[in-house]
Structure formats: C-alpha cells, structure tokens
Symmetry: C2
C-alpha cells in the first residue's frame, strides 16, 4: 500500500512537474508575469479548471516556481563551492561567485522572478520564501567566515559599521544556535552580495548605462577587484 501510495504520489508529481515546466517555458517566451493557467491547460490538452486539482490558484503555482528558483540558485552556488578543496578559500569564493552569475544568466527569467519586480497581484508567503532566499546568500557568508577563522581574510576598512543599530541588526542575523558570527562577516557578505546583484541585474536586463558589452568580462573585472580587496583572489586569475 505504501508502494501504491507512492506511485500515486508519483503520478501527481509528474503532472505538477509538467505544469511547472510549461509555466517556466511560458515565462521564458513571454516574460515573468505571463504565467497563464489557461495556456498551461491548453498545452496539457486539459481544460483550465482541471488545473485546480493540482494548484488551488495561480499564486500557489508562482510560489512553487519561486521556491524552485531559489533552491536551484542555492544548489548551483553550493555545488560550485563544494567542488573545490574546502581549505582553498579563494578558489571556493571564485567558484561560488561565478556559479551565481552563470545560473542567473542561464535562468534569467527565474532570476527575475525571485529578484526582480514582483508579479502584480502576487504576494509572496514570506515564511516560505525568506528561508529559501537565505540559502542563496549563506554560502558566501560561510566561505568568508571560514576564511576569517583561518586568518586568511582581509576585511576592508569600509566593512566597519559605526551605526550601532545596523551593527546590532547584523549581529542578530549572524547569531545561530551555537555560534555568534562576527558582524563584520555579515557586513562584507552583504557588501559582496549587493554588488553581485547589481552586476547580474544589469546584465540580465540589458540596460547597462550605455550598454556594457562583454558582460562576463566586465563582471570578472569587478569581481577580481572585490576578491583582491579581501585577499581572496585565486592565484590563477
């Protein structure tokens, strides 16, 4: 029975996966906000209301797509990080940073879905999306923390935060059950992260100020400088 139950669940999973795949294709073709239940149903040779057996409404489907995107991005970064020697912090950071950009470029709509303008009428359920989002930032923080513990990391002076409130906020973020990560790690992680974000968004949306051609090279130049400032630039770059 457990086996039959599983097969049943499997069938449902197959259908929901096809629904999501078609939705992603639609986003690719028509833009992030163009997920249309009727169009998905048409593609599946099914009437529109039948989709409501799988998703209670359009928003839930979108939430599912968002969670998939966050997890896909996080997986890509984590995988890249874990593929290199954990003691080679510079290589780890470089791999993570390049994987981040590559995933965003390869899955532009998904990246826009999670980090771009929200879809009108859609409100994200924060209790689900926030943890998923944090997964995409955590690897960078982890690498920086590891490097700092190893005494490798150079923390640029601009990471120091005078404002006590922001400092407290950063310390709160960095407090887990057993460790208190120094707020400076949070500070440089966010600094790195918002710059990745700006660079990637610019490339994906294609409206660099006068368009920067050769976006990958530009990204590399900027990344190289950032990592150099942190003493995390791999020798071979």
């Amino acid at each position: 029975m457990a086996r039959i139950k599983l097969e049943e669940e499997g069938k449902r999973a197959v259908v929901t996966n096809r629904i999501k795949a078609i939705a992603r294709q639609q986003m690719r073709d028509q833009g992030t906000a163009s997920v249309s239940l009727r169009a998905i149903a048409r593609e599946l040779d099914i009437t529109a209301p039948a989709l409501y057996r799988y998703y209670p409404d359009r928003n839930t489907l979108i939430t599912d797509l968002i969670l998939d995107a966050f997890n896909g991005l996080a997986d890509a970064v984590e995988t890249a990080d874990q593929a290199v020697n954990p003691m080679h912090y510079a290589e780890r950071m470089f791999a993570a940073v390049m994987a981040y950009r590559q995933w965003a470029v390869d899955h532009a709509v998904d990246y826009l879905l999670i980090y771009g303008t929200p879809i009108p009428g859609y409100e994200a359920p924060r209790e689900q999306t926030v943890p998923a989002m944090q997964r995409t930032v955590l690897p960078f923080g982890g690498i920086l923390y590891d490097a700092s513990k190893a005494g490798i990391l150079n923390i640029p002076p601009e990471a120091l935060i005078d404002d006590p409130e922001i400092r407290a906020h950063f310390e709160e973020i960095a407090r887990t059950d057993d460790v208190q990560v120094p707020y400076l790690i949070v500070s440089i992680t966010i600094d790195l992260w918002y710059r990745l974000y700006g660079l990637v968004m610019l490339e994906i949306l294609g409206h660099s100020p006068p368009t920067v051609k050769k976006a990958r090279e530009f990204y590399l130049i900027k990344i190289r400088q950032m990592l150099k400032d942190m003493n995390l630039l791999p020798d071979n770059f």
Copy 2:
C-alpha cells in the same frame, strides 16, 4: 487661430496628463504591470475605446510613462547638482547621489518601470528610451569629469581596464563631437552607477539578503566609502 489651436492642443494635453496620472496611480496600487486601459477609462467616466483617441495602444502609453520617469529622475539629479557651487565637486556628487536615491524611493514604481523587470508583452522603442536613460547617468559622469579636470579626482586602481575591447568601448561612449573624455571617467562612472543601482533596487524591492533595516543609513555608509575612495567626500559627512 494659432491661439485657438494652442488651446485645442492644451485640452488634449490635459486629458493625456490625466490618463498618465491615473496610470501611475494604478501602478502604485497594483504594481508596474497593472496598467489597465479599461480601468483608466472607468476612472475617467469614458468607454475604453475612447482612450484610443489619445494612445494607439497600451504600449505607447507605457512608453510615455517610461520617458516621463527617465526625465523625472534625470531632472531630479540635475537639479540637485546645479543647486550647489559648481566648483565644489564633492558637494555636487553627494547631492546628485542622494537625489538619485530619494527620487527612486519616492517614485518606486516609476523606478521599477524603467529599471526593473520589463512588463510582459511590452517592447521598448530603444531609439526613444536609450537617450532618455542616458540623461540619468550623464550628470554623474559630468561631475567626475569636471573633478578630474580640476585635478581633484582620485581614480581608484580598479578603474583601470586591461581588456582592450572594453576599453575601446568605453572610449567610444565617451567621445562626443568636440571632446574625447578619458575612458577612465566612463569606467568609474559605470562602477559608481551599478552600485547605486544595486543599493537602490535592494531597498525598493525590500529583499535585501536578510532585510537591511535602515536602508538610508546603509546607503549612506556605502556611498561615503565610494566617494572617499574618489576623494570626493564632502567635509561635513
């Protein structure tokens, strides 16, 4: 007759302005992509097809809103720049940078409209939008150029571009009819700009990695560091 003609044109302008105002209100309420001709018509106590006397289609209206937004942002930055002594480059830059953020925060939907995820089904007419967009970047380049001519500007080493193609591209951007602005000015302008972009987007969209509270203070911290690196930090900040 010329007078009457003008009044006629004035009436048309009044209506199109009301159309745009309602559209902006809609965006504010429902999100960037929710500009609805029928809803605008309803608000105007008019039938939907009547709107086609003023705009041939929805996309043209959106283009108009986009151009207004670009020009509004550019005006805000230019005005802030021109309000201070033109010889005080640090003050000029600080004023421009703060005006940029303030406009974006005050007109979040408009900022998203021009720099966020494109509206599905809408394709911007580049020959109109690109020049308007350039107006929003130009003031920063101008201040930096003026400061460099005055021998004030400190150009950080990361502005140097090794890649000859990107360098050539930057030089092309910086070539106007009578002057050839050094590519380094373009390089630091773009560098400043994409970081403003990342910071502002993060604040507007509210999905800082774990949300950064006190976004203005955070912006200030980052800006201060950038300007300091360029020797453009005003004394009083």
